[in-house]
Amino acid sequence: MTRPSPTEATGEAAPRRRGAAEHVLRWTLARVVGGLVVLWAVATLVFFAVRLVPGDPAEAILGGPGSQASAEALALVRQEYGLDQPLLVQYLAQLGRLATGDLGTSYSLRTDVAGLLLDQLPGTIALALASLVVAWAIALGTAWWATLGGRVAAGVSSALEVVAAAVPHFWLASVLVLVFSTQLGLLPPVSTGTPVGLVLPVVTLAIPVAGFLGQVTRDSLLDAASAPFTVSARARGESPSGLFRRHLLRHAALPGLALSGWAFGSLLSGAVVVESVFARPGLGRTLLGAVTLRDIPLVTGVALASALAYVVVVALGDLAERAVDPRERAS
């Protein structure tokens, strides 16, 4: 006796088109507000976490105790970073600066964080998006092969997916470079800024994600393949490949789209390793450097930038999901 959904009661009437524009507006507004809340929360969490760290931030700014910084220099830095103010003032000032897009100055790089991230963001986004596309291509290609290739293909592809999902990026990168650059000399081992240089980083990043997407895709593919509508389609004379293309693909892609935020996050995580190994500029490498040197403004900046990117990607994934699946969802 489950709660009846209100939609079921809708009679023969056409769907409510009334207020479609209003609906879009409401959706957009909710997304924007939600995104801002997320950014605010990230900034707040990071801000207060910083204050829990022992040690003098001013000293850290000047490169740690080993920098032999003079007392004047420390005072100068404290003043510059507002470290002599009460915590609440610092917090509000921090929020105020963030609101104007000022992410502060990196301790370790002594440069404007916002500007630095603006420089770094496109490289990472390009890497992540290219990897996302490749991951999808691999996942769907495997699903296609597994669906049409019979039992052996299904077994092999399933094993491949499991292994792919279990491979650490850093190890995969090493092995790929060893094989494709050192042994075969086919691809450049470090990024060049040309499409060829993008191949190995993208493949490295894409394979584990493809493994995950493949597993999820396969689950929904199997569900869809046993749904009655596939019988209807085959009863119309649809061929297996037509069935895959026209019906199963969408169903298989749906949960993957819902996971696009997760997948993007996973790609950003992987970018930390991949950018370092392939000497690509980007957020991940910046973050790793910042973490190694405990460069808090930079860590904060990267956290905010990735949160922003995440919020945007999730919204886009949601849009894509709605495009593929127009069924109105309750929540």
């Binding site: 006796m1 709660r3 009846p4 209100p6 079921e8 009661a9 809708t10 009679g11 023969e12 056409a14 769907p15 409510r16 207020g19 209003e22 609906h23 409401r26 749904a227 009655p228 509508f229 019988v231 209807s232 389609a233 085959r234 009863a235 119309r236 004379g237 649809e238 061929s239 037509g242 026209r246 019906h247 969408r250 169903h251 749906l254 593929v324 699946d325 127009p326 069924r327 309750a330």
Partner: protein, 563 residues
């Protein structure tokens, strides 16, 4: 009508990894003829139907399997694809899932044309519109762009039929085309198939619903456990059945069977040969707050007279209203000013199409949801709205039986644990006394004592529903709310469960709120009946009177739509 049959099936066998589920089945379908294959779950009728399209998924062999001039048995996969669509169309039950929920129905219809014709897009669209109009789809232009989820049950079933018909196949196989549809929609679908048959198409209908079969089929094939037990012209098979199984099926139909009369033969199924003697029931008067009617000695002759004393109202609803609001939508009034009265030892039937508010009403009366307006009383005491804390102590007086018992059991618990939990009201004490009471409960609902060790998932649908009834009985309630308790069951099992409910009512003086979309079942089970439409009770009264002389147009329409 040609002399040679359109479809010839002779000695059809289908096996799944060695297990034969269809064995030596033979029948023919002529052009312009409708043949119905009837049978219950596991009879092999659906597998038979799909074997005709090469979609059974098992190992198929047949002495003869011909459609028109085509030897189906000799087809390879590519050959089958040429046959599916242009020569045989398939209509499945429940178009919500039988049409791709992500694609507009226009595309689904278009697929068939694109695969099998050389028509251009415009011509294909023309054909799609034609066929939609043909199946009685209003406003076909708009519908082309809509998906199955956006259509009502009737419309999407029409769309599904249209998709099967668009290539004008010689044979249409309809697998349970009316199951899970409201009576009115069922009727539309049946009419459509009948029209198709009259236009010269061969129709093979698979159904468990003998009412539908009676209206549609020229000939009937009765299957049981993969074997044809009887076949022949409809009037002959349904009018003068020769086989026991056919007779049993017919007897199980509640239509026109008097209130209290048995539907299932004694000794058939797992039901008790003799209902448990009342002595086995521990004293329950201690639990009953209101004066309980004396238990009627069993077995009682049909129909049980209401207790002589003035019938007490055990459950009453007054002006119940429930409105659902979802973000960005107009509020939906699910239940609107519903007032009902259920008397001790009686059954109040609640009928209506899906979405008419029956289940919401049941939830309000069960205290699972609070009304926005109105109130309910149980045994004369306030019941809803009420804080759950105040209601909990009196929960034992009110039990519930659901349509889908499987999901109402904790999958980790054995039947014994489910019942023991219900008997002890959740406490974990008195193991010996509890075991005896569990055994007694199982006995009363006609289940073996050994059932206690099994898990609900391993039971058949009928057995599960018996366990659900036993659980509902455990706290010794005065009232049971039964929400579509037999809708998911085969007709013979349905008969057994209905008989069980009848017996229990007689023995224990239970009052039932009996919810069903099936008018025949309600007519058979209820003393009073209430008809719901769009959240309102449009008519209520004594069952016999309402069915004999319906006052409200909607009731009349419902009754007219019965197959």
């Amino acid at each position: 009508m040609s002399v040679a049959p359109l479809l010839e099936v002779e000695g059809l066998r289908v096996a799944f990894s060695g297990r034969r589920v269809v064995d030596d089945v033979s029948f023919t379908v002529a052009a312009g003829e409708c043949v119905a294959v009837v049978g219950e779950s596991g009879s092999g009728k659906s597998v038979t139907a799909r074997a005709l399209l090469g979609l059974s998924g098992g190992q198929v062999d047949a002495r003869r399997l011909r459609l028109g001039g085509t030897d189906l048995a000799a087809l390879d996969e590519r050959g089958w694809r040429g046959v599916r669509g242009p020569q045989v169309g398939l209509v499945l039950q429940d178009a919500l899932v039988s049409l791709d929920p992500l694609r507009p129905i226009g595309r689904e219809i278009d697929d068939a044309l694109r695969l099998h014709t050389r028509l251009g897009p415009a011509a294909r669209r023309e054909r799609a519109l034609d066929v939609l109009a043909e199946v009685g789809m209003p406003d076909p232009e708009t519908r082309l762009g809509q998906r199955s989820g956006e259509l009502s049950g009737g419309l999407r079933q029409r769309a599904l039929i249209a998709a099967a018909l668009v290539l004008r196949p010689e044979l249409v196989v309809a697998d349970e085309p009316t199951t899970a549809l409201d009576a009115e929609v069922q009727r539309v679908v049946v009419d459509r198939l009948a029209a198709l048959r009259d236009a010269g198409t061969g129709v093979l209908a698979i159904s468990h619903d003998l009412g539908v079969v009676r209206r549609l089929a020229d000939r009937v094939v009765v299957m049981r456990a993969g074997v044809v037990v009887e076949s022949g012209p409809t009037e002959q098979v349904l009018g003068a059945p020769r086989h026991d199984y056919t007779r049993m099926l017919l007897a199980a139909l509640p239509r026109g069977v008097a209130r209290g009369a048995r539907l299932s033969p004694r000794g058939v199924g797992p039901g008790p040969v003799v209902p448990a003697p009342p002595a086995a029931v521990p004293s329950r008067s201690a639990h009953a707050q209101a004066p309980a009617p004396a238990p009627v000695p069993a077995p009682a002759p049909a129909p049980a007279p209401a207790p002589a004393a003035a019938p007490d109202v055990v459950l009453a609803a007054s002006g119940l209203r429930r409105v659902f609001t979802a973000r960005g939508r107009a509020a939906h009034v699910a239940v609107d000013d519903v007032s009902l009265e259920l008397r001790a030892g009686e059954t109040l039937g609640l009928v209506g199409a899906s979405g008419s508010g029956k289940t919401t009403t049941a939830r309000l009366l069960l205290g699972l949801d609070d009304p926005d307006a109105g109130s309910a009383t149980l045994l004369g005491q306030p019941w809803a709205p009420l804080r759950e804390r105040d209601r909990r102590g009196r929960r034992a007086q009110l039990g519930a039986v659901y349509q889908d018992p499987a999901s109402s059991f904790d999958p980790r618990w054995s039947v014994g644990r489910v019942l023991a939990d219900a008997v002890t009201a959740g406490r974990r004490t008195r193991p010996t006394g509890v075991a005896a009471e569990v055994a007694s409960l199982l006995d009363r609902v006609g289940l073996e004592p050994g059932t206690a060790d099994r898990h609900p998932a391993s039971l058949s649908g009928g057995q599960r529903q018996r366990v659900a009834v036993a659980r509902a009985l455990a706290p010794r309630p005065r009232v049971l709310v039964c929400d579509e308790p037999v809708s998911a069951l085969d007709v013979s099992v349905q008969a057994q469960v209905l008989d069980l409910l009848d017996d229990l009512q007689r023995e224990e003086g239970l009052a039932y709120l009996f919810i069903s979309h099936d008018l025949d079942v309600v007519a058979h089970m209820s003393d009073h009946v209430a008809v719901m439409q769009q959240g309102r009770v449009v008519e209520q009264g004594r069952t016999a009177e309402v069915f004999a002389a319906p006052q409200h147009p909607y009731t009349r329409a419902l009754l007219a739509a019965r197959p």
